[in-house]
Amino acid sequence: MSAMLTVWWKEVRENLRDKRTVFSALIYGPLIGPVMFVVIMNVLVGHEMKKAEGPLKVPVIGAEHAPNLIGTLKQWGLVPQPPVADPDKAVRDRDADAVLRIPADYGKAWSKGEPVQVEVIFDASQQNSGTPTKRLESMLKRYSQEQGALRLLARGLSPSIAAPIVVSERDQSTPQSRAGMALSFLPYFFVIAVYIGGMYLAIDLTAGERERQSLEPLFANPVARWRILAGKLGAICSFSLASLILTAVGFSIAGHVMPAEKLGMVFDLGPGFIADAILLELPLIAVFAVLETLVAAFAKSYREAQTYLGLLMIIPIIPSMMMGFLPVKPAHWMYGIPLLGQQIGISDLLRGNPVSAGDIGIALVCGFALALVIGVGTALVYRSERLAISA
């Protein structure tokens, strides 16, 4: 058995005996994504269904001035609530999603055939108010159009005169693409699973060994240090690969138990998705393994390494946030940037768009090239005298 394999096997075996490492690498890391996915989607679905189909409860001020209007809106699902004294405050405080105010001269103006102004008071910065406000507005618009058409007919004119343009909307999104939009956070969980999967090993195998003073006897063996490093990196990669596979399978199972079709979404998280997602994330396993080892080699103790690597976990969030806040048009070159390539690749897979072999190839080549560069740096740090001396 070669020295590299010996080191790899010893590290894997030793760390499988460590409850903390096993928990974080093989349970916490891989499961947090799928669990969050199921929870968030269930809450989201429940919430939206209630808003879209349930009775629309809106406080109405001055309902007595427009009994016909209110009567019609009631038939369409409005449940008028008692008026509130300060509608501005009510929507700001989220006591009401929206408030409808009907002026006192409604009846007078209506009988003269003049336009009447009704007010819908809402706060657009409150996410909850979106759907109810839209529903209320469309009810009012519909009522206005129907009444307008009746007035034209009463004067012997065709209602189509008042509607020179008819807009017909054709939404090009597919159920998959709508699902993908709702899930722009999902690729981050893949990255996190890879990161956490290797993190505790990286700390233990370098900073931990140093703290326990076992690097010195290890380096007294007739094995080149880069071989020892390679064995250790292999062990780190094995754990993060296991974590990644568990995550992909977890999402696949989660996709089956999701009430997604109620939102008009379809998730295609079958074996094809699992294989492509794992392939795309492969270079990140290598990049994180060398990066985490490099950071751990600079730390003087286990705790110090843990702190640094905890802070470093912010980096993988950046592409997810970027794509969330500034939706950029994905281009081929983006696959060449590790993390960004994985972000757009997995988003595309979720939308049901296949990622081309060329794009996966670019992601693999660039990712492994970056890992190689950092790896050479890590090997140089591993050769230093300072590394082995703990006391």
Partner: protein, 244 residues
């Protein structure tokens, strides 16, 4: 055989080792004696190539450590100051890990391990995880791990540190046995009696320099002191760091 020629090593402005020269021969026990902080551990670390000397040369069985460090490490069995066992592995797994790193065949590995387990009387702890081992059990395991490749040269850094009387006696017998097998045994210590009892040759180090390199009898004769402890104090010029 281990030859050390004019070694120098400085950490910043501190000269830890400042011109150390000595020879440790096969079939002899050589003691590196000196007070704490005299440069013993740094000297030994340069022997097993963990550190590079600023100047000077180390030859192990004629191989230059600067030229072929891996060959040098292959010819050495090392018990460092830091024992550093893997606490989630058993004593057996600790020993076998190092045997594998030396590329020893499985059958030979079992033979060697059995021999060491007998010689060190560690049968009862062999399959226990090393977490919670006593100091003596840790040293035994670390020594078995260091010698499983049957090296011709053995370097032990303060091997009896923290051991009780029985464990110390056992370890001394083990070291005499290594000598009888024709090996070159080099160990460091700050304990006079131990060095006097075991060594064929004593290299006294103080402040990074060799102040004497003699047999115990010659050392007594040189300093004119019948008692080795007095001879030692005279050599290093102070009683600082003497913990017998």
């Amino acid at each position: 055989m281990i030859e050390v020629i004019d070694l120098h090593k400085a950490f910043g402005t501190v000269k830890a080792v400042d011109g150390v020269t000595f020879i440790a021969r096969d079939g002899e026990i050589t003691g590196l004696l000196g007070p704490n902080g005299a440069g013993k551990t740094t000297t030994l670390r340069m022997l097993y190539t963990l550190m590079k000397p600023d100047s000077g040369q180390v030859l192990v069985d004629g191989v230059d450590a600067a030229v072929d460090p891996i060959a040098v490490r292959r010819g050495l069995g090392v018990l460092p100051d830091a024992r550093g066992l893997y606490k989630r592995l058993t004593a057996r797994e600790n020993i076998e890990y190092f045997a594998r790193l030396h590329g020893i065949e499985t059958q030979l590995m079992h033979q060697r391990r059995e021999k060491l387990v007998e010689a060190l009387e560690m049968r009862d702890i062999l399959d226990r995880r090393t977490e919670g081992f006593s100091q003596g059990q840790r040293v035994k395991t670390a020594i078995a791990r260091a010698l499983v490749h049957d090296p011709k040269n053995v370097i032990l850094d303060e091997p009896t540190n923290g051991l009780d009387v029985m464990a110390t006696r056992g370890l001394r017998a083990f070291m005499r046995n290594l000598k009888a097998e024709g090996r070159c045994v080099l160990f460091s210590s700050h304990i006079m009696q131990e060095v006097a009892m075991l060594c064929d040759r004593i290299v006294v180090i103080a402040s990074g320099r060799v102040v004497a390199d003699e047999s115990p009898d010659a050392l007594r004769a040189q300093t004119g002191e019948a008692n080795l402890e007095d001879a030692f104090v005279k050599l290093i010029g102070s009683e600082e760091g003497l913990a017998a």
